[in-house]
Symmetry: C3
Subunit: 211 residues, 3 copies
Amino acid sequence: MEILSWVDYAGVAVFAATGALAASRKQLDFIAFVFLAATTGIGGGTLRDAILGLTPVFWVQQEIYLYICVVVAAVVFFTAHRFESRYRLLLWLDAIGMAIFCVKGAQIGLAATGSPTAAVVTGILSSTFGGVLRDILSGEQSVLMRREIYVTAALFGSAVWVLGDYIGSLFGERLGQYQHLSQEIASVAGFAVALFIRGGALYWDWKMPNY
Amino acid sequence: MEILSWVDYAGVAVFAATGALAASRKQLDFIAFVFLAATTGIGGGTLRDAILGLTPVFWVQQEIYLYICVVVAAVVFFTAHRFESRYRLLLWLDAIGMAIFCVKGAQIGLAATGSPTAAVVTGILSSTFGGVLRDILSGEQSVLMRREIYVTAALFGSAVWVLGDYIGSLFGERLGQYQHLSQEIASVAGFAVALFIRGGALYWDWKMPNY
Amino acid sequence: MEILSWVDYAGVAVFAATGALAASRKQLDFIAFVFLAATTGIGGGTLRDAILGLTPVFWVQQEIYLYICVVVAAVVFFTAHRFESRYRLLLWLDAIGMAIFCVKGAQIGLAATGSPTAAVVTGILSSTFGGVLRDILSGEQSVLMRREIYVTAALFGSAVWVLGDYIGSLFGERLGQYQHLSQEIASVAGFAVALFIRGGALYWDWKMPNY
């Protein structure tokens, strides 16, 4: 559980950093850094919880998520000028956050609904909506609307986790004490697939066949 | 009930088609077609359910709505180039979807709250919010912000259904076995009024007096 | 309670007026006036209730909020041309609405969660989200994204109320019959601080140090 929490915090932190970087690109003030960091960091999970009826949403009682966003906004406020290409950094952090949240979103979606399809959809929503909010609020064209492989990566990451979880459950009893391990393998696999697809799109400029 | 389900599926399908057409106009890839189709097809109902507290929202367990969006996105992906004016087609399909969803939204709103006013408002939200999301995400100016008769049509459609339902309930006992029929008349009347007003605006270029 | 309700209605009314003024600046029709007025007037509270799980959201049963928005939209429709600078008026009304709603949002957030941090966040969301929706829908650049002191004002207003409420609770028993008074002082203080900060930014063109 410890590790999972840390991964989760890391996901919020990198998304929050992309929000703060967007604020730095618009030369906004510190409060706007915090606002965009928090909107990006917890926006996807908020939509997920609202759709699933898991209210009050996750950050209402677990305030650490809010504090993470404030701290990250402060760090970016004082360091962003050091990075040569802030937009490039934003895109890579965004990729990592997306890869973490598609797995996390799928886990919560499956636990709440028992439906693999719904789990994939909540995985996609959790991992993309924060970035969509960031782009709309900061007036950038949404990454979804450019010829970028983004939702595709979240879809595959979520689906790989759901599949891995299903395979693990098939062998549930035989696995015994290793059952927990199979969960972690599924999570790492989903994360890795999502990051590989999105990272490949960023690094090698992969494109999907467009219309 | 059978017929109502099919009408409901048709509403999601035509809205999904408008989302996919918006994706085709932006020359996006297939996943973006699905994403915009689903956002448009189920966005309005998702907002309605979140506001009414009907969570998990409708498509979480009734996955057929998601599958409809995927299939529609695929069909549009392979056929949209055949249509001479994709935007014209988008507007007419959008009109049909709006007319279906203002009645559907008002029905669900009235059942959940017992309030005719709330029913009209949920009718308007269900039938317009998917299109608003589509327009915001695809970077088009929202139809609400142009001098178009749109919300007005949804308002009248919802109100006619609420009125028809009320009149039917007045004669409830006397109607006996025809009570179900009175419900259907109210639905068809609401649909027809909404489509007539919106269709008239599209065909005869009707305008409201503006400011 | 009487007074609090009236203040609350006033908050919805001034926010609704800013929505209607945005519609007048775009020369839209009357229904668009109502739609933008309602979106702005009740949008922030709707998000607050959805996040806290207080569903159906507040205006579903208390329809007076909807009627206020309709009446305000009508008044603005027939009078807005008399104002020399509609945008200036919009900004000042928006400041008053924000100052009312940061206190109101913090009160509801604290009552629902018991957490001061969550109360401040719901205060900020309640008082800013309606305006964000108005700006996105009417195609204006969001006030959050300009070098304006806005979220900062909502943050301080919410925080002052939370602090005042806490101080009042410390002396709870000793205050006796004056306990109600301490609540009102906290509310007025939160409102005044938020309005002073935002008003100062508007009048004296205060700026935060930006990036």
